[in-house]
């Protein structure tokens, strides 16, 4: 068994896949915890759909699709955030606007350019086994930007999530920090499209974090647990996909869901056991 795994890690494509998958898993968990607690769980999904529009634009114009996805997603996310702040549109509604507008642009550009291509399918469903060295570099740069900035802003972000008014009274420029965070979330999501694709991206943002929240620990510990769940899921999912010849995005997400279900069952069993102990 160990020999098989060792052989597997000899392949360059597998090394690239695992390095980029672990890097993505960590930043998605960190950014995702703030999104989940802000009740912006579907923000990742919406941004990915906007990115779909950006990717379509890139394929249509001949520009590298991820660059157009970055630009379109960041501009759209900042724009929608400003729209929400100035008009008091509920967060879930603004996310719906973002999601559908991105998809609409994408569909129009695809229909103009004559339908779906293989390249577009790889962005829709992801394929981590096909990442290039350039992709790995982009993903690692994204980590190198997102992690230090979140580290510096950590207390400010927690305070804003806890109570925006208290954050304002503490002298924080809440609007600026929110905008910066949205930009970080955007680049995280675009970088992650290679792993699970546009359609499954919100799983990386949401599932490890809601699983970690069930452990009942503090903020930092929850973040570490979420990262651990996420890293385990991507590594296990990639290895499983290789040996079972299944799509890696699917095996990664199903591994995460399995861990989520196991945690729910374990938690319920613990509650029942505690009840029985108290009754006795």
């Amino acid at each position: 068994m160990m020999e098989m795994l060792f052989d597997l890690f000899q392949y360059g494509f597998m090394q690239r896949a695992l390095i980029s998958a672990i890097a993505i898993a960590v930043i998605c968990s960190i950014v995702g915890l703030f999104l989940v607690l802000k009740r912006h769980s579907l923000f990742g999904d919406a941004l990915a759909h906007v990115a779909f529009g950006g990717i379509s634009l890139g394929l249509f114009t001949g520009i590298y699709p991820l660059w157009t996805a970055y630009i379109v997603a960041i501009l759209s996310a900042v724009g929608v955030n400003k729209l929400r702040e100035s008009t008091k549109i509920p967060p879930d509604s603004s996310i719906a606007v973002l999601l559908t507008s991105g998809l609409a642009i994408g569909v129009i550009l695809i229909s103009i350019s004559g339908g779906f291509t293989l390249n577009l399918f790889s962005f829709l469903f992801g394929n981590i086994l096909l990442v290039t060295v350039d992709d790995v570099i982009i993903i690692l740069i994204t980590d190198a930007i997102v992690i230090p900035v979140i580290y510096v802003l950590y207390k400010k972000l927690v305070l804003i999530i806890f109570d925006e008014n208290q954050a304002k009274v503490s002298g924080l420029n809440v609007s600026w920090i929110n905008t910066l965070f949205i930009v970080l979330a955007s680049i995280t999501i675009i970088a992650s499209i290679r792993l699970v694709g546009v359609l499954l991206i919100s799983s990386l943002i949401v599932i490890p974090n809601i699983t970690a929240l069930m452990f009942g620990k503090g903020f930092k510990k929850t973040m570490f647990i979420s990262c651990a769940i996420s890293v385990f899921s991507v590594v296990f999912g990639i290895i499983l996909s290789y040996y079972s010849n299944l799509a890696p995005s699917g095996t990664i997400v199903l591994t995460m869901i399995s861990m989520f279900l196991v945690t729910i069952i374990a938690k319920n069993l613990k509650v029942r056991y505690n009840k029985i102990t108290v009754t006795k």
Partner: protein, 261 residues
């Protein structure tokens, strides 16, 4: 000595209705000011203006001598406890983590966090998630968070609404200790007239306009004044509901040296 808070001719309009109408008063160092007024009287809006959360008001507000619109640094000297809102049980921050948020932008010693938690008598809960505590305990956590930066002024917006009476009494004891033992100036809004009468050294009665500002006994010891306050509050609401417009307010001067305005 310069006042800690100076509110001068403050007006704030929500759509075309005045939420605050030409209000002027000041708070001196060591005051324990209770602000009373019915629902919708503008107490929260008043605090939001004082704290710079709302900026599109007319008039002037100075905190520790500097204009809040021009200089927000004075906010560093203030602890703020907002209107109670229950924290979700799953919110993954422990009591210690929440209290540490009281100081942003500089390092905070573990000892300072522990002292603040001990002061509000929640030492045994420091590693519990805030969402697992009762609402009264959660409010005490927010006070500890406000205390950790050693504020000179504590502003509390209806902190005990919806909290049982035993917990309220503990909370009031805590406020008194903060004012008497630590010398913190307290500005506190409440519906609880009995508590304000018992605790506050000064009282401000508002209902969009300022009705009275002065010594507590000058208000609560004067039955006629209290009666006329009730009439004032009722009249104020009648004006609001029957459409007194932005330009239709009474523009009289608010000279409020312990008198009915």
């Amino acid at each position: 000595m310069q006042p800690i808070i100076k509110v001068d001719n403050l007006s704030y309009y929500y759509d075309s209705f005045p939420s605050l109408d030409h209000i002027s008063f000041s708070v001196e160092k060591g005051d324990f000011l209770g602000i009373i007024g019915p629902n919708g009287a503008g107490k929260t809006t008043l605090f939001q203006c004082i704290l710079g959360i709302v900026n599109n008001f007319s008039g002037e507000i100075s905190l520790f001598g500097s204009n809040i619109k021009q200089n927000k640094k004075s906010l560093q000297r203030i602890g703020y406890v907002p209107q109670k809102k229950s924290v979700e049980q799953t919110f993954p921050a422990t009591v210690s983590e929440i209290v540490s948020l009281g100081v942003i932008g500089r390092d905070i010693k573990r000892e300072s966090i522990d002292n603040a938690i001990e002061f509000v008598e929640l030492g045994e809960y420091r590693n519990k998630r805030i969402g697992e505590l009762s609402e009264g305990q959660q409010q005490r956590v927010i006070i500890a968070k406000a205390l950790v930066k050693q504020p000179e002024l504590l502003i509390l917006d209806e902190p005990t609404t919806g909290i049982d009476s035993v917990t309220q009494d503990k909370f009031y004891d805590l406020l008194t200790r903060l004012n008497k033992e630590k010398g913190i100036t307290v500005v506190w809004s409440s519906h609880d007239m009995n508590a304000v009468e018992k605790l506050a050294s000064k009282v401000a009665c508002i209902d969009r306009k300022l009705f009275f500002h002065g010594e507590s006994e000058d208000f609560f010891g004067n039955e006629e004044r209290m009666k006329s306050y009730v009439e004032f509050a009722m009249q104020s609401h009648m004006n609001l509901h029957f459409g007194k417009s932005k330009n239709g307010h009474d523009n009289k001067e608010n000279k409020n040296d312990g008198n009915v305005v």
